[in-house]
Symmetry: C2
Subunit: 242 residues, 2 copies
Amino acid sequence: MRPNILLFGDSITQESFRSGGWGASLADAYSRKADVVLRGYGGYNTRWTLFLLHHLFPLGLTKPPVATTIFFGANDAALAGGTSERQHVPVEEYKENLRKIVRHLKECSPTMLIVLITPPPMDEEGRMEYARETYGEKAMTLPERTNETTGVYAKGCVELARELGVRSINLWSKMQETDGWQKKYLRDGLHLTAEGNAVVFEEVVKVFKEAWLDASEMPYDFPHHSEIDGKNPEKAFQQKCL
Amino acid sequence: MRPNILLFGDSITQESFRSGGWGASLADAYSRKADVVLRGYGGYNTRWTLFLLHHLFPLGLTKPPVATTIFFGANDAALAGGTSERQHVPVEEYKENLRKIVRHLKECSPTMLIVLITPPPMDEEGRMEYARETYGEKAMTLPERTNETTGVYAKGCVELARELGVRSINLWSKMQETDGWQKKYLRDGLHLTAEGNAVVFEEVVKVFKEAWLDASEMPYDFPHHSEIDGKNPEKAFQQKCL
């Protein structure tokens, strides 16, 4: 009955239902109005994601999502030659993969609201600190990702969105507008703190509102309890349930 | 593809995707394994809920939930004659309504794991404080709910679960085992704090595990990224996607 909003992405999406997470906040904001469906795949890059595409979004769905966020790039941007090389995807292929994803979603539903989200910025120092805390002497000594490289992917993502006529959120730029973004928004140089999650939530809600997917203007699935007459409850349910 | 876990209840369910909420924690715990579907109706009692039943759980669903939590009673237990009388449902009718819900769900799916959750305990003093803070001089001077009465509903809920052979969580008793439960678990005498939410999450997970719906034993929907060979990704996806 309710429309679905689907969150498609890597670990930053998969983790988004942890305490203070942007996905859970969306589910709360749209509660009784839309269902938020979590399709986050930690560690995935866009190349691997293509294997899932037709399974997650089969053509001919009777009820495709009304909106989908596509939030990849943090893994694609892992450096070739670094310790996370396995996840690296060249930026041109990253853009091409995103293009395939968007095209497929448009084929699933021409009216679907598609929002491309760039990877967040990357704090190299914070990432090294995290590696030392986690792996001690075995920790990497060279960065596996850099903020500059991640920025190239973010730019590619935004350019592609413009080219395809879909909305985008430049999280990489947005977060860096705030002083101290490195610790404020990132907990290990790469993944989001609660405050970082709040930024994603606000940006997604803003884009959804601009596209008229505004929770405050969407109807409740069933009457609000204040509309129910204790002595004559049937009346409130007449239109939708009887 | 993934099984659904449905959370059916009143405001304590509807709010469960706020920061630290038990619903969001479940969605996180079962991420990539099951979808947690939120069907919380703030202010609803079991009488009003019956109007929704066939709409939320139509017979003949191709994919009924594998598990459903039924979490009502806090509103039914509002005192007749109090300021929330409109929501009051006599305890015998409350049990009868729960019985109708359980029977309908069993008809939807004989294998569905059904978990009845009692209302949490009620802190009369905390509720009055909240009313004074919110409404000032216009606040109620007599309690609209009492812990003793809510306990009668909790007892009825547990008895019914035993009679119908479904699982139950006696939240009313469980929470009162901890000293200072009034402020520790309840934020306004009625709704849950983050710590109160954590109790519900732990209890639900425990019951789910006992019923073999254990996230740690459920398969990922698609390969974990560590199983993907960067040079030959097709291999990991062969079984499920190709």
